[in-house]
């Protein structure tokens, strides 16, 4: 009796699934996920303890007092956070233009949005360093006004923003496009002015997508390396980012130290992503399924 009960739902699900070879596919996927993601992660977690428990603990104790590492982590997370937050504004505007307006060159903009995905990050970095450098097209005039962008944290934020922008546009556009227009009409008829329609009807419907976009841009920003190092100046304690410090440690044959920074980076990233997904779930409680 109990056996039949247990066996039946499983068979029923197998038969109902439309995807052919789902079982095999799932198995392979899990295998690759394990091989490509979980195994290196395990290695990373294990690495600091490679020379024994004592050595590992000592490394952690050192790290806790290593000002250069802590400030590098600080620069990385702070820059990624600011960049991802600021990205939401132009990202939302571009998404709006793509989804709602009929501006000329809409297709061209649509294409250009993906450019940061396609460019090697080093190219982005060199271009930005040239533009914003002390003699650059933008950096020059701004410099005369007393504003320095290259070799400051502002420069880091700008570089990360450039790389993170497509995430916002690509996440928000489809949601905005699928937003029913009659909901806005309903709000208008109920007496809402344009600002109220935007703030109380459209934006709340976009919150889950905006949070997802923020999370992706943020995650990308933390790991961003190529585009940042050219514009950052890379002064320790000031404009040195954590990924760069990992490379420096590796060049110093300090693999344990590099792995340690990596471990902290991964830990905080995972924690942030978990918080973001929690927030998104909270925000999308009114809508069915995911957002």
């Amino acid at each position: 009796m109990t056996m039949r009960r247990a066996a039946f739902p499983i068979r029923a699900r197998w038969q109902r699934d439309a995807l052919p070879g789902f079982g095999l596919g799932l198995g392979l996927t899990l295998f690759w996920l394990g091989g490509l993601v979980m195994l290196p992660m395990a290695a990373l977690i294990a690495r600091p303890w490679g020379e024994g428990l004592h050595s590992g603990l000592l490394a952690f104790a050192h790290a806790a007092h290593d000002g250069r590492m802590l400030s590098a982590l600080g620069v990385s997370f702070r820059s990624a956070l600011i960049a991802a937050l600021v990205d939401l504004v132009p990202g939302l505007l571009i998404a709006w233009a793509l989804a709602r307006s009929d501006i000329p060159g809409r297709r061209l903009i649509d294409m250009l949005v993906d450019l940061p995905f396609a460019l090697p990050t080093a190219v982005v970095g060199i271009t930005m360093a040239t533009l914003y450098g002390p003699n650059g097209w933008i950096g020059g005039p701004l410099g005369r006004l007393g504003l320095r962008i290259a070799f400051t944290q502002t420069g880091i934020v700008l570089a990360i923003m450039f790389v993170g922008l497509p995430f916002v546009v690509r996440t928000v556009t489809p949601v905005l496009r699928n937003l029913p227009r009659d909901v806005e009409d309903a709000a208008r008829i109920l007496g809402a002015n344009r600002l109220q329609v935007l703030l109380r009807v459209i934006l709340p419907a976009l919150y889950p997508a905006l949070v997802t976009a923020f999370g992706m841009a943020f995650a990308r920003g933390i790991g961003e390396y190529g585009s940042v190092i050219f514009i950052a100046g890379n002064q320790p304690f000031h404009t040195e980012i954590a990924p760069l410090l990992i490379v420096i440690r590796l060049q110093e044959y300090d693999t344990q130290g590099a792995a340690l920074i990596g471990l902290v980076l991964v830990g905080i990233s995972l924690l942030s992503l978990a918080l973001i997904s929690l927030l998104r779930r909270h925000l999308s409680r009114g809508t069915q399924g995911d957002a």
């Binding site: 809402a192 109220q196 009807v201």
Partner: protein, 351 residues
Amino acid sequence: MSVQLDHITRILPQSSRPIVDDISLLVPDGSFTALVGPSGAGKTSLLRIIAGLDPHQGGHVMIDGACVDIQDARARNIGFVFQHYALFAHMTVAANIGFGLSIRPRRTRPGKADIAARVADLLDLMQLPRMGGRYPHELSGGQRQRVALARALATGPRVLLLDEPFGALDPLVRQQIRGWLRDLHERLGLTTILVTHDRQEAAELADTVVLMRNGRIVQSGPARQLEDNPADPFVMTFTGDVVRIAGHVAHGMFIPALPDIQPVATPTADGPAEILIRPADIRLLPGGGGTHAHLRHRRGPVGIYETTIAHTTFAVETITTSDSAHVIPDCALDITAGRLARGDTWLERAA
């Protein structure tokens, strides 16, 4: 409040044909009017113009005698129920219903407690007790429709516009919500305009049915009048079952193209024509011709006989008794009660 439309025209930028073409209509205070017609007739466009959601190029919209052409939708205080409910998915049912009140400027905004009380009243009125805390996606279609209605009524509008509100509901719920809507209309003293493509729905709910086609009003009046005195063949086809019998007029007689249908006298000029007749108006003349009619089924006192003449099957509705014959042999069809048409207009009525 009455709604008056005075030569309203709306032309979409891309198209040459107006989607609303010179429409004038008076909806008296407290009346229930239904706009019916095939899709693309301009019903929804007209409703959106009245609400102020869409602009119009010519004419005036008057509510309660005052021209509202330059008033934005938000200033007109009209209740509008959308075809797909258009509920705010991220708000609870209570927040949806209270939305219109909560966005008012501080001066005229009721207090939180007043809004909550109004929402509770409306939930009661809509028979949605204890649903205030739910989200729209947790409700059934009929419940969502009632929430949409409650939301539209929350600000106390005197005019209620409904855009195919029952389209997505199953027939049983539809029937229930109809009766209840009519009741609500009476109780709140509303002026209601309903858009629908369902003629039965229109006939059941509305005092006045306005039949539209290609952006124009074809005929308006009580449903019964449209059924009994259709202005043209289109109205007749739209308002009920119709049998069309082709033929031609010669020497003052309409001669059907099919045998076993009796000719009909008419004073009109010779030429092709057709007769449109409701199945209930066709008579069977036993012994008058060469076709056999079979009793197909019987619903109460109404029986339906079917007869096939030259591969065309006609259904004839008649009053039957339990001893009515199952087969009526050698009969002909009498269609004198039908209307004679040529193209889109009536010819002189068959005498």
